[in-house]
């Protein structure tokens, strides 16, 4: 874990320090709101997550880039009985989903001048590495898979300095059905809304 943290920190510091013209670098605090089949497993909002985005402006109103993020969903369920096909099981459950999307993205911006609020819409595509875990009693059941995923988004860049912007993004994450399934789960796709709030820097003149 510490190695991962150091690598990510180096990535951000390096990207920021060596930023070139028209390059956006940003970090976000990511919240997650499970929907559909994800909500059936965990319906509790996640306030634990972060993201890194690096993008290059290929036109004044269009950036192409990539992002890495991490959302942790978890929920404690006490006194729960699961009905099985030929029985039942009861006990305290702790459920987890760790979602790690690695996505490329394109964003279209509105707003002409520096110092303005710049709304945008975007589309992300890439892979999601999802670690699903169920703890019940002394057992830990894990199901880890790579998924193809899409994430349309919209948001705002709000200027707070010469090069610095506060960012707010709403992103609907969808990871397609893939790999093995935990127990009798009929659908291994994942979906959640992400609200990402952060800070970014745009360096260089396009």
């Amino acid at each position: 874990m510490k190695t991962l943290q150091i690598l990510i920190l180096m990535l951000v510091l390096g990207a920021t320090a060596m930023a070139q013209r028209g390059v956006y670098t940003g970090v976000t605090w990511n919240m997650g709101f499970p929907t559909s089949s994800t909500a059936e497993y965990i319906d509790k909002t996640s306030f634990r997550g972060f993201g890194i985005t690096i993008a290059k402006y290929v036109q004044p109103d269009l950036s192409i880039g990539g992002s890495f993020s991490w959302n942790v969903f978890d929920e404690l369920l006490r006194g729960r009985t699961e009905i099985l096909e030929n029985g039942a099981v009861s006990g305290t459950q702790v459920r987890y989903i760790n979602s790690l999307p690695i996505l490329i993205n394109a964003r279209h911006f509105w707003g002409e001048r520096r110092g303005e609020v710049h709304p945008f819409i975007g589309l992300n595509a890439g892979v999601y590495y999802i670690r699903q875990r169920l703890d019940i009693g002394v057992w830990s059941l894990e199901n880890n898979n790579w998924h193809i995923g899409l994430a349309p988004e919209f948001g705002l860049y709000i200027p707070v300095g010469r090069e610095t912007y506060l960012t707010a993004t709403a992103r609907w994450n969808y990871a397609f059905d893939s790999g093995t399934r935990l127990g009798g789960n009929p659908d291994n796709s994942y979906a959640y809304w992400g609200i990402d709030i952060g800070i970014g820097s745009i360096q260089g003149w396009f």
């Binding site: 874990m1 990510i8 920190l9 951000v12 510091l13 920021t16 320090a17 060596m18 930023a19 013209r21 028209g22 670098t25 970090v27 634990r48 997550g49 972060f50 890194i52 402006y57 991490w70 942790v72 006490r78 699961e82 099985l84 030929n86 029985g87 039942a88 099981v89 009861s90 006990g91 305290t92 987890y96 760790n98 002409e112 001048r113 520096r114 303005e116 710049h118 670690r131 875990r133 169920l134 019940i136 009693g137 002394v138 057992w139 830990s140 059941l141 894990e142 300095g161 090069e163 610095t164 912007y165 935990l182 127990g183 952060g198 800070i199 820097s201 745009i202 360096q203 260089g204 396009f206």
Partner: protein, 220 residues
């Protein structure tokens, strides 16, 4: 959108961002410590044969011993045997089944209830059966119960299990020396100290076996 003049080097935004990221990385952890207590680790599993008409049974026989299974070389306390037997008997009786204590009774009981216990640092599993047969009574090592999902990892805590089986004599296979179990309840939990309320946990868990088995009950 127009961008500010090019300026190389770490920006103020970058510093703030990196600080934010550091905070985020500290904040994010894969798994949460919920501060679970002993009874949070108690799991009750019940399995049954869907082709069995439990309402057709009327009488049962319950031996007055809780058998030791799994690692039989280990000393296991008998402190809770009476509790296990009484809770099991009360639950069957409250569901309309009549307990028979005479082993020579005629006609013989409709089903036999067997209780077993085990302590172990690993969970013992018998493999993928159900609606099948246990080895011929009394059971030896290898007997056990299993959760409904394939097991991923098992933590190495000292554990205790209580298993209750409802045996249908009509399904006895005398050729292969197997007997049929049409309902099984299992409790698995951590072995604790006096503060872990072992007696209360056993009482609640064995009752839970029956609470989550609403199909048990005599119609006769």
């Amino acid at each position: 959108m127009r961008f500010p003049r090019e300026r190389r080097g770490l920006t103020r935004g970058g510093v703030v961002g990196a600080t934010l990221l550091l905070s985020a990385l500290t904040f994010v952890a894969c798994y949460t410590d919920y501060g679970l207590t002993y009874d949070d680790y108690d799991v009750v599993v019940t399995l049954y044969d869907k082709n069995t008409d439990f309402g057709a049974f009327k009488t049962f026989y319950l031996p007055d011993s809780v058998f030791l299974v799994g690692d039989t070389t280990k000393k296991v306390s008998n402190e809770f045997d009476d509790l296990i037997l009484s809770v099991v008997a009360n639950n069957f009786e409250s569901r309309g089944y009549q307990r028979i204590t005479d082993t020579l009774a005629s006609p013989p009981p409709d089903f036999v209830v067997v209780t077993a216990k085990s302590t172990s640092t690993t969970v013992f599993f018998s493999g993928g059966w159900y609606g099948g047969y246990y080895p011929w009574y009394p059971w030896g090592p290898g007997y056990g119960w299993y959760p409904w999902y394939p097991v991923g990892t098992v933590n190495s805590y000292s554990q205790g299990s209580v298993v209750v089986d409802l045996i249908d004599p009509a399904r006895t296979d005398t050729v292969n020396k197997l007997i049929g179990s049409v309902w099984a309840g299992g409790v698995n939990g951590l072995l604790g100290d006096a503060t872990s309320n072992t007696r209360e946990r056993i009482y609640n868990s064995v009752n839970q076996m029956f609470n989550q088995s609403p199909y048990l009950g005599s119609n006769r």
